[in-house]
Subunit: 240 residues, 2 copies
DNA sequence: TAGTGGTCTAGACCACTAG
DNA sequence: TAGTGGTCTAGACCACTAG
């Protein structure tokens, strides 16, 4: 059953007790000294186990007092999203690449001046040769950046901006909505006006929190796979 | 600038180099021995820093070889969802509590037999006295559980099942869709048939991976706030 | 075989809490 | 003041990698 190192054994035992409500949210765990005695090991090893439990969200510590069981984050899910995988994209068609004068909304979204320019890229995404999504992206225009590459092959918004921003520190936000299709979108996707569409709005920020990209993806609901799972289930626990 | 403990200083320095592309995904970091020499500390302390970096998703290690920069998980977002907060619920109205014979779909969703019974709970959720969402929940019926409490006040699906399952190990999944409203739903929400609705389907599993609850939430798009953020941004780094 | 990461020991000093 | 967690040292032994 257990060839686990001691510190993981400790963490695993405590997790089980927490899950079985032996320790309830708000309860204090035994002190590291007590646990060290129980497991016949040193406090250092116990601390390592408690640190693990902390980083996995089970407990938190108060200096000088002890470790306490956290309230589980019932509200938090892990959502997987990218333009290609949310749909099963098999083919893409470039509709437009342009440098445009931003609208009022674009100025606000990208926090730029009316006088600046914006790159507009529009794609039609196909799944099994059926047009299923309309992808619209806006990027602040810098003379430095060549945009020819955009015309060659399809890239997700993070892929596009990743070249000009630091890797892990790009902040991304999504807003998910259900919308009525515009007549023009209906034509593009060959659907009726009453067919609801998913709209996924994506906004990217650089490490200084300045918007560097904005996108709207309109997807036929019947081809959209948007799924989220609770965050604890993919923690290194038991796996099925 | 830095009263950080050594191990966090190490982690922070490495993060910055990774973000600035000093180390690129796939690159090997300096060994713990080298870093210990650089920072004039012991390998133990360096290891602690590297462990931190690992648990934050920046690097992973291969035993006997070294630490390597990971590919950032561009696809992963943190989504916040619960029935109450996704909308700004100000009032709730119980529509129905019943014990029903499951439909074919219910049997499949909850993995139960045709002969078993299911608790059906329906609520209407109001925001500022406007009906904005229709909430339908299904729970496998056990004679043990009293269901009177369901009629007293509104509870989210996780809140309901939390009483009978272990805390952190409940697995939850969401599926997000855009749907046309049924005529009956239109009447409930007082909307036109062509107004698209968000449908959020929630399914809960216990620690043995058995479904213990299923819910469908139909929300007026204009009152639904479904937002997700990239997972790295809420890591303990800089915060704005 | 030299070097790497993974774990652990037995201590130390410190900041913090609470009676 | 006793007990707690947070950090760190200077070592040890092990499993693993790669020449």
């Amino acid at each position: 059953m257990s060839n686990l190192p001691i510190y993981l054994q400790v963490a695993s035992d405590l997790k089980e007790k927490i899950n079985q409500r032996g320790y309830k949210p708000g309860d204090m765990l035994p002190s590291a000294n007590e646990l060290a005695a129980q497991y016949q090991t040193t406090r250092t090893t116990i601390q390592k186990g408690l640190t693990t439990l902390n980083s996995e969200g089970y407990v938190s510590s108060i200096h000088g007092k002890g470790y306490f069981v956290r309230q589980p984050e019932e509200t938090k899910y892990t959502l997987f999203f990218n333009e290609r995988e949310c749909i099963a994209v098999t083919r893409t068609k470039l509709l437009q690449v342009d440098i445009i004068t931003p609208t009022q909304e674009l100025c606000e979204q990208l926090r730029i001046r009316k006088s600046s320019r914006v790159i507009l890229i529009r794609w039609l995404l196909y799944s099994e040769d059926i047009p299923v999504a309309h992808d619209v992206k806006y990027l602040p225009y810098d003379r430095g950046k060549p945009l020819v590459e955009a015309e060659i092959h399809y890239a997700t918004l993070p892929e596009i901006v990743a070249k000009h921003a630091s890797l892990f520190s790009i902040k991304k936000t999504l807003r998910i909505r259900a919308v009525k299709a515009l007549p023009s979108t209906c034509k593009l996707l060959n659907i009726k006006e009453d067919q609801p569409l998913m709209m996924i709005e994506q906004k990217l920020y650089n490490e200084k929190n300045i918007p560097i990209g904005w996108g709207q993806l309109f997807i036929r609901d019947d081809y959209c796979n948007l799924v989220a799972v609770s965050s604890y289930s993919n923690k290194p626990e038991f796996s099925f």
